[in-house]
């Protein structure tokens, strides 16, 4: 293709070849625009006790949220989330609600160490089973997620006891007393195998357990800080642990090798959750910290892609399996909800499996029919594929106001518009161009009083800058010589002249000082060169 060889438009700019090239200003990444597209609201919880745990039911078609607040487990369902009757458990704190993989049952521990199992559809009918083994508060209650295991439950508590339950018989399959040397506050079942799960404790250690071998941990490694939360990433091969202000990604299959460590929070990271992006279907690791931020981490690219600010300290975070609702619980009893704005109907009706896919599914393409408007505009936003021959749209040249005016030979207006922009570079450029056109003197003569004020102010500010001094001092002289009458008659302009005078006096002083220094230095240089 033959390029147009006619000359480009050279804008009036001084010394362009010496300027550093500027990169593009950062634009909002698609990821950030996705997360910003969430509309935030708040769920009504009548308490101001900390919301320590939030969890979504993995199996329900409509997002079903279980939140603990003080002595009850609150269930919310639907889109938008609507409260359902509370499950009052005890008179005391309740922790860690956990849905069974089919979403029919809900288990929760309490401050005494008792774990109760409820029916989700009949929350008020009292517990179905009561599991008693722990002697202190049970902060970890987890149903296995993989393999459709419906009868087992993992619990661990501040008494450092780990129990693997056979729920129907209310008896533990095995218990590990002193599984850790401190409170067990984190635990997660593996999405790959229903026998595997991890626990994390305040003794900094993270342990991987296998229900088939029991008793002894299969793997143990140290996080380096009290572990607040642990979570398997969807493949089951990677494990994320949170403790201190760090989130660490471990390769479990590779024997507990540290893959990556993220130190993006300022304060302690309290909770981890997986979030699925509705647009691309990719999953992100969400971490909530007591600094009030939820950060989205792309574990494929190993970088933070977005961070969301909340007004209060966060203790828990959860994202609905379909990715439409993001909730975060604060230490003051608030539950912040962010809902995607454009939740389409199909997305709601789609039965979403609770298991996060490791590979991102291709977004489905719906066939366009000629009856749609979009049919006729299809393919317009298509991105070029690799190997496609791209014909660039001619770049639109942005022309500054003063350049436009210069092109129309409206010289005075060009000077005034540059002065109004208050960018010394462009003002000097316009002046240089006017000199080249032999029009500067006439322009100065034509300025009215206000514009003259602009010019004098500009001269006051910039005339002594060494870069522009040679031109601007001459201009200042010329202005005074030509417009003496106008300046005398206007009080405001006299003020500018006073400023100018002061500046000149200062400059002369500086020059005197410099000359003194030069006088001192030059004999020394002469001596040195001898």
């Amino acid at each position: 293709m033959a390029a147009d060889t006619s000359k480009p438009l050279f804008p009036a700019a001084p010394h362009t070849s010496l300027l550093p090239s500027h990169g593009n200003p950062n634009r909002v990444s698609p990821e950030a625009s996705y997360w910003r597209n969430f509309r935030s609201s708040e769920l009504v919880t009548a308490s101001n006790y900390p919301v320590t745990h939030l969890t979504f039911s993995p199996a329900h078609a409509k997002p079903t949220l279980a939140a603990v607040s003080f002595a009850a487990v609150q269930l919310f369902t639907g889109d938008p989330l609507a409260p359902r009757p509370k499950i009052s458990v005890t008179k005391d704190f309740v922790f860690s609600p956990s849905f069974r993989s089919d979403g029919a049952l809900l288990a929760a521990g309490d401050i005494k160490g008792v774990v109760r199992v409820f029916r989700v559809d009949k929350p008020t009918s009292g517990p179905l089973r009561t599991l008693r083994a722990h002697s202190a508060e049970t902060r970890v209650v987890r149903y296995p997620v993989a393999g459709g295991d419906k009868i087992h439950l993992i619990t661990a508590g501040d008494d450092a006891l780990l129990a693997y339950w056979d729920v129907p018989s209310e008896t533990p399959v095995f218990t590990v007393p002193a599984a850790h040397r401190d409170y067990i506050r984190a635990g997660a079942p593996s999405p790959a195998d229903h026998n595997l799960f991890v626990t994390g404790s305040y003794d900094h250690s993270v342990k991987l357990w296998d229900a088939r071998t029991g008793k002894a941990p299969s793997l143990s490694f140290s996080h380096g800080a009290p572990v607040e939360s642990a979570l398997f990433l969807p493949s089951g091969g990677l494990l994320a642990t949170a403790g201190g202000n760090m989130v660490k990604i471990w390769d479990v299959i590779g024997g507990g090798r540290l893959v990556h460590s993220v130190e993006s929070h300022v304060k302690t990271v309290m909770a981890l959750a997986l979030g699925k992006m509705g647009t691309t279907g990719e999953t992100r690791l969400l971490s909530a910290g007591s600094d009030g931020y939820v950060k989205s981490f792309d574990y494929g690219e190993l970088k933070i892609t977005h961070s969301m600010r909340y007004p209060k300290q966060l203790l828990s975070v959860a994202c609905s399996p379909c990715g439409t609702v993001l909730v975060a619980g604060s230490s003051k009893g608030d539950i912040f909800v962010r809902r995607r704005k454009k939740a389409t109907e199909e997305e709601d009706e789609k039965v979403v499996s609770g298991v996060f896919d490791w590979t991102s599914p291709k977004p489905e393409k719906q066939a366009l029919k000629p009856s749609y408007y979009r049919y006729f505009s299809r393919g317009q936003n298509e991105k070029p594929k690799q190997g496609d021959f791209v014909i660039e749209r001619p770049k639109k040249v942005k022309i500054a106001e003063h350049d436009k005016l210069l092109r129309k030979f409206r010289h005075k207006e060009a000077l005034v518009s540059a002065l109004a922009k208050n960018n010394p570079r462009s003002v000097v450029a316009v002046m240089e161009e006017l000199v080249a056109r032999r029009k500067l003197v006439r322009c100065i003569g034509n300025l009215d009083v206000d514009e003259l004020g602009f010019l004098l102010e500009f001269l006051h500010r910039n005339a002594t800058l060494p870069r522009y001094a040679r031109l601007l001092l001459g201009v200042a002289n010329k202005v005074l010589e030509m417009r003496a009458e106008d300046i005398r008659s206007d009080g405001k302009l006299r003020g500018y002249i006073r400023n100018l005078k002061r500046m000149v006096v200062e400059e002369i002083q500086i020059q005197h000082t410099l000359q003194g220094i030069q006088g001192m230095v030059s004999p020394m240089l002469a001596l040195a060169s001898r």
Binding site: A2, S6, S17, M431, E432, V435, A436, L440, R470
Partner: protein, 792 residues
């Protein structure tokens, strides 16, 4: 002898009938360029004076587009008929007077009751019998020539002060010239032509008219005047009787006096003289252009304008191809831009050598710099570029934009490139551009160093130095042979030695080379007027007005002073590798002097007003271009003489007389060894040729020691290429159709499964074929390669 540097814009070019070739008048020949590649295809050489008009004969309808015949007219008074595809001269008609313009309208004539196509040339000639100095004499004449018989037909159509440009309408019905404040239009009967039937129409205006154009289909004529107005007369020449046309009815808008037109409207955008006018082939638009370097497209009905800006220099002519898909516009900077028509995108540019910048200031000197090794000349242009022009190939090599500023048509030059200097090998370039101050405000002198790029004539900006000698002007810049060192001397009384420092670390970590000042020297505060390095680079000679000072460039130490010349020295040069110095003084007391640097004395000198001088790089000879002070000639056309001297001897070795020496320059260039290796070998030394570039940038290259003229031949021929035939009609829009094979006869012989069943398997009409599911397996099986099983 090689000549070159002709102007391509002395006369309007012409397209061939198929629009693939462009015929451009270049000096005494017509150059034929391909419009698709912009390359020279052939040259028509036969005129003895400058060619002033070229007309492609509209082909008879039967052989459309294949005819490649044209008529050319020249100042030698000949009209020549060419077959330009074969570059053959077919016929010659003598007019006898210098022809300045010619049109050949398509006219038929009744001969023995049949219409015969008759080529009639309407020529505008200069009557040389009348004295040139008589301002009132009517020197211009418009005549008609019958080209088949080669004789004049009828009488003179008009007499004008000077020969005017004739314009014809597309149909050939109207011809016109702009004569002072009037348009003379002749209505010519296209059928049954007789000289008596020609009718003359006059349209008047109050300003001098410069150009005119006819509407392709209607009776509309547009005229441009010297103040930038465009007048459009509609329905001219409708009156039955001349002189009686509606003197009474007053409703004729804008038509003056008794002019024969209905209305006259004025379009005004141009601020100075309109140089060309042209109607688009459909008649809806009018193109105009002039000094501003902008093509203005007028929509005739609405008066709306579109522009094609930034063509770089004032425009001269505008011609469009017969199918109006391409048009070309000639600029005064010796360029012809080929424009793709509806959107006016520049397809190709045919660039000749840039013309010297016209300047009213006589003290300004035109600066050319020669790259002796590559045979290039660097010429500063009006739009702040430096053009590199290959002398041997007569083509533009490249253009380097020195100042980033848009071209604006101005009366006086406020910004210019005042000096160009190239190092011996052509690796570095140094330019000085000057912005003149307005009432002592904002003047700026900038010194720029450029590094050579990958191709010849390509330079990258390396260093910019603002005001290198504070506000004093720079008189000379010279590079040191063999080292990255340069010296700039200024009128402010000092000279600076610049070196290239490669240790400058940029932020990206790669080393950048920049130029910095190494030392400053001065001699008695005298203005430094010239500077030169010796051939081996060990001595720096700087002229402090009329005194020559010799310096050691490394230590900046004064080595010696040579006694005074008569007046300030403007050029200083070491002669070859010898110890002789040549100096040129160009003021009221001109002098050419040769000094001996070893004993610091004058060798010999002449009082000679020299325009330029150059020294051979190897031998001890130099050439001086001196002006002959002839009483009659105007200063611009002054003749000169090139004198070749040997430094040892004060008598010239040889001399050559040249024309247009004012503003000319000379240089020795190295011969391309590839051209005549055998002559090099016999001479046993480096062949160096002398280039003379005259005041209008035409040049000649010759061997100063050899009298055989045609030793070296031009090798532009290697560029000539036969481009592929252009697609026409359907193929030009949709591309070639695939060749349709004639249907094979289905033979009646029984079907035999062959080794390659895919050739036969699908033949036959679809209702005869077995179902595809069956065919598919057979077809796929046939594609698989059968390989003998060999298990060992």
């Amino acid at each position: 002898m090689i000549t070159g540097g002709q102007s391509y814009v002395s006369a309007p070019p012409a397209f061939s009938a198929d629009g693939r070739l462009l015929l451009v008048c270049s000096g005494r020949s017509v150059s034929v360029f391909s419009t698709s590649t912009g390359m020279l295809v052939s040259e028509l050489e036969g005129h003895e004076g400058d060619v002033t008009a070229v007309v492609v004969v509209p082909p008879p309808a039967s052989v459309a587009k294949l005819a490649t015949y044209c008529w050319t007219a020249g100042l030698d008074g000949a009209l020549i008929y060419w077959d330009f595809a074969a570059a053959e001269l077919v016929r010659k008609v003598h007019v006898g007077l210098p022809v300045h313009s010619m049109v050949i309208p398509n006219i038929t004539r009744t001969v023995k009751s049949t219409e015969v196509h008759t080529p009639l040339a309407f020529v505008s000639v200069e009557d040389t019998s009348k004295a040139a100095d008589n301002k009132k004499a009517l020197r211009g004449q418009v005549r008609i020539y019958d080209l088949t018989k080669g004789r004049q037909v009828g009488c003179l159509l008009a007499k004008t002060r000077k020969p005017e440009k004739i314009v014809a309408s597309v149909s050939g019905e109207f011809l016109g010239i702009a004569n002072k404040r009037q348009l003379y239009i002749w209505s010519v009967p296209t059928e049954g032509f007789k000289p008596e039937k020609i009718r003359k129409i006059k349209l008047s205006h109050t300003k001098n008219l410069t150009t005119l154009a006819f509407h392709p289909s209607e009776r509309i004529v547009a005229g441009g005047d010297s103040t930038g107005r465009i007048l459009v007369w509609r329905a001219f020449g409708k009156a039955k009787f001349s002189g009686t046309a509606g003197a009474a009815d007053d409703d004729r808008d804008g038509v003056r006096g008794q002019d024969d037109a209905d209305t006259c409207t004025t379009l005004h955008w141009h601020s100075s003289e309109v140089k060309f006018l042209k109607f688009a082939s459909d008649g809806a638009y009018l193109f105009s252009g002039g000094m501003e370097g902008v093509i203005v497209v007028w929509h005739l009905d609405s008066g709306k304008r579109r522009y094609k800006p930034r063509l770089g220099s004032p425009l001269m002519f505008f011609v469009d191809s017969p199918d109006s898909s391409i048009s070309c516009v000639s600029c005064t900077s010796n360029q012809v831009h080929l424009l793709k028509m509806p959107n006016m995108e520049v397809l190709k540019t045919i660039s000749g050598i840039k013309l010297p910048i016209a300047s009213p200031d006589l003290s300004r000197r035109d600066v050319c710099e020669f790259d002796c090794t590559n045979g290039l000349v660097a010429i500063p242009t009006e739009d702040y570029c430096i053009q590199f022009y290959s002398l041997f190939e007569n083509t533009e090599v490249s253009e380097v934009q020195v100042c980033e500023r848009n071209f604006q048509p101005v009366d006086d030059i406020t910004m210019s490139i005042s000096l160009v200097s190239l190092s011996i090998g052509g690796d570095f370039m140094c330019t000085v551009d000057v912005k003149l101050p307005e009432e002592e405000l904002g003047g700026l002198i900038t010194l720029k160093f450029w590094n050579h790029g990958s191709r010849a004539g390509q330079f990258h900006l390396s260093t910019i130095i603002y005001e290198p000698h504070s506000d004093a002007g720079i008189s000379a810049v010279a590079f040191r042979p063999g080292k990255n060192m340069a010296v700039s001397s200024s009128f402010g009384g000092n000279f600076k030695v610049w070196v290239q420092s490669s240790s400058l670390q940029s932020s990206e970590g790669k080393s950048q080379s920049g130029w910095r000042c190494q030392s400053v020297g001065s001699y008695k505060k005298k203005p430094m007027t010239a500077a030169a390095f010796s051939g081996d680079g060990s001595v720096l000679a700087v002229a402090a007005e009329s005194v020559i000072t010799l310096w050691d460039p490394d230590n900046n130490a004064l080595v010696g002073v040579i006694a005074e010349a008569l007046s300030p020295i403007t050029k200083l040069s070491f002669i070859g590798t010898s110890t002789y110095l040549m100096s040129l003084s160009q003021s009221s007391k001109p002098q050419v002097a040769v000094w001996n640097a070893s004993n610091l004395s004058m060798q010999w000198s002449y009082t000679l007003s020299a325009e330029a001088a150059c020294c051979s790089s190897s031998k001890s000879e130099f050439a001086v271009l001196s002006l002959l002070s002839c009483p009659g000639g105007t200063p611009a056309e002054q003749d000169g003489v090139i004198l070749l001297f040997d430094a040892e001897n004060s008598s010239p070795v040889s001399s050559f007389s040249v024309k247009k020496a004012k503003g000319g320059s000379i240089a020795f260039v190295k011969d391309d060894s590839s051209m005549d290796a055998d002559t090099n070998a016999t001479r046993g030394e480096e062949a160096s040729l002398l280039v003379y570039v005259n005041g209008s940038h035409e040049y000649v290259i010759f061997d100063p020691r050899n009298n055989e003229v045609s030793q070296i031949s031009k090798h532009t021929q290697k560029n000539i290429q036969a481009d592929e035939p252009a697609r026409i009609g359907y193929a030009s829009i949709y591309g070639e159709l695939p060749k349709l094979e004639p249907k094979k006869e289905v033979s009646d012989i029984p079907f035999i499964p062959s080794e390659r069943p895919w050739e036969t398997i699908f033949t036959g009409s679809s209702h005869v074929l077995p179902p595809l599911t069956k065919l598919c397996s057979a077809f796929l099986a046939s594609l698989l390669e059968k390989r003998p099983v060999s298990n060992e």
